[in-house]
């Protein structure tokens, strides 16, 4: 009997410990009023995926780290959320629930909606989301890049290539676009803007659009690229993550050209990757984070940055660009850049709130 009571008592104590100890620890970690003055400005970078191998997330982390390094009293922690999108909301909620971070920074078109939901439960938490758009949440700042201009830049370049500007240009005036998956920005903005840009060069140019179905199957990407080349395509804009490597392999085997999106891709295939449109996500992340640390970042704003702002551009600095792309094409493309500087393109963001 006594043994039974002792064991009941022990179990009760164990249960109490299980609940009380984390609560005490949690409260102990919560910000305390006296510490507030000397406490560093704390930032969490939530990476919806993994950093390594993703130029976009590498730029994000690099930009935030640079801002923190230049600040005397700020700290940063990078949290990789993995590829399971269903887990991102829970991960961001967990970060906000710690109440340890003044700012959560992330980058993905689906993140503003998640951050908006989380901020309803944690009204003190502030968010900076790049490559996404949200207006009106006083605790969130978003930065979107004008992907219409970006795709247009690629399209115009592809048009110049397919109309005979390069040694391997073919007779059929057909350009290719390989997408990892179909999504509103791809179908409603990138795809039409890519063709629009090409048709400025020649209205007869056709677009061969293919979908890989994921962001990693380079083998199937190689087959899709082969199928495109069979139909007379000579230049392919590849927005397919790891699948881009399959497109490069095919282009190398069959003398065709590849265009890159978001980051500089020349080093993946000199002479094969002949053009890269860039978004300066690192610069945007750096500047907005620095403003947040200084207390000058305005929240509740959804900004759109494009060519005229200097955040969307075409990589004309890379030595491979000058080595493999003829002077005439470079000059014509430079003129387009200048035109977009003077006359920015309107950008309707799909699904904007």
């Amino acid at each position: 009997m006594l043994t039974q009571r002792v064991s009941h008592l022990a179990i009760s104590l164990l249960c109490a410990a299980l609940f009380v100890v984390p609560a005490v620890l949690f409260l102990g970690c919560a910000p305390v009023e006296e510490e507030e003055a000397g406490r560093p400005y704390s930032i969490a970078v939530f990476v919806p995926g993994v950093v390594e191998g993703s130029p976009t997330y590498e730029m994000l982390v690099e930009g935030v780290r640079r801002a923190v390094d230049e600040s005397e009293n700020a700290e940063v922690r990078v949290v990789e959320g993995g590829f399971n999108q269903a887990e991102w909301s829970g991960s961001i909620t967990s970060l906000a629930a710690t109440e340890s971070y003044d700012l959560i920074v992330s980058s993905n078109p689906s993140l503003p909606e998640i951050a908006n939901e989380v901020s309803q439960s944690f009204p003190d938490q502030r968010f900076l989301v790049l490559d996404g758009y949200w207006e009106g949440n006083p605790r969130m700042r978003t930065v979107m890049f004008n992907q219409r201009e970006q795709a247009y830049l690629n399209g115009y370049f592809a048009g110049l290539v397919t109309t005979g500007g390069m040694p391997a240009s073919r007779e059929a005036r057909r350009i290719g676009l390989l997408a990892g998956q179909e999504y509103p920005m791809m179908n409603q903005v990138i795809r039409p803007a890519f063709l629009e840009g090409a048709q400025v060069v020649d209205p007869e140019i056709e677009l061969d659009f293919r979908v890989l179905g994921n962001w990693f199957d380079a083998g199937r990407a190689a087959d899709l690229a082969n199928s495109m080349l069979d139909r007379g395509v000579d230049v392919i804009l590849s927005i397919a993550g790891g699948g881009n490597q399959g497109v490069i392999a095919t282009a190398r085997d069959r003398d065709a050209y590849v265009l890159w999106f978001d980051s500089s891709g020349f080093h993946h295939g000199p002479g094969i990757v002949i053009g890269s449109s860039l978004v300066k996500l690192d610069q945007a992340a750096y500047e907005r984070t620095r403003a947040a640390i200084n207390g000058s970042l305005e929240f509740g704003v959804g900004e759109v940055l494009g060519v005229a702002d200097g955040y969307v551009t075409f990589d004309s600095e890379d030595p491979n660009y000058t080595e493999y792309v003829p002077e005439t094409i470079r000059a014509q493309h430079e003129q387009l850049m200048q035109r977009l500087m003077d006359e920015p393109m309107e950008f309707d963001i799909p699904g904007a709130n």
Binding site: V50, E52, G53, S54, Q181, E182, D208, F209, R210, V211, L212, G213, N214, F216, D217, A218, G219, R220, A222, D223, L224, N226, S227, M228, R231, G242, Q245, G246, A249, R252, D253, H268
Partner: protein, 293 residues
Amino acid sequence: MIYYAIEVMAPLLLAGLGGLFAELAGVLNIALEGMMLAGAFAAIVSASLTGSIAAGMLGGLIAGTVLAYLFYFVGIRMRANIFIVGLAINLLAAGSIPFLSSAMYGTKGVLRLPRVPRMPGFFVGIETGFPLLDQIFLGHSFGVYLTVPAVLLAGLVLQRTPFGLRLRSTGKNPETLRAVGLNPDRYRRAALLISGMGAGLAGSLLALRLGVYLPNVSAGRGWIALVTIYLGYKRPFGVLIAALCFALAEGVSVAAQGVLQIPGTILLGLPYILTVLAMIAYSAMRRVAPSDD
């Protein structure tokens, strides 16, 4: 389209044939996917170190075999649950390769190494006057020409040699083997090692065709290879037909995107829909006329 279907078929067929040996020995090798992945990584590393395609393929073969031995040791020798061991091998490959890649080359992502040669093509530029025959037989990469003798060799070994007979007995009735003083585990080990070689070689073909290793390069082909074993009635020639059917369906889905006004995302499901339909048909046909396996 047929040309590319043949190229797609080659790695599926090699992995499927290897898996067939394990299956006939009574061991379901669900680790083909992981072995392919390891083969792909090892192939690129070996090809880069030596500058040789042959060495790359050998590296892939060895990597698959090492994982297969691990499978044998834990699953057969240590009597662990085969299904769990297979899953663990897949997870081990997916988890350890990024670690090795990071430690050796400083990246977990795309591994583009110097000195990796391009996969040579054979009978390139030759025309018979019959385009269909040209697409089936000419201008393919080395791996494709490897698969034809592999099917014949597998058929010969399994059907016409004492080793093949004993291996099949191991799967059907291991007690018979024990009764004549033979150890069935030796045949299970041999079968698993052959399946590791096939999957490793298949992985090496995938990576060497691209000239790079990238995470998840096998993209589920190990699982498809497993399906071809059953669709092919557990016979080498049947595996060939099943792999060819899947590759043709894949080829149709790729080519159709360029000509049909149907969203690509829907067309991409075609090979998998056909696989499910084929499995249903297989199941129905087995009820009517069960195979001797």
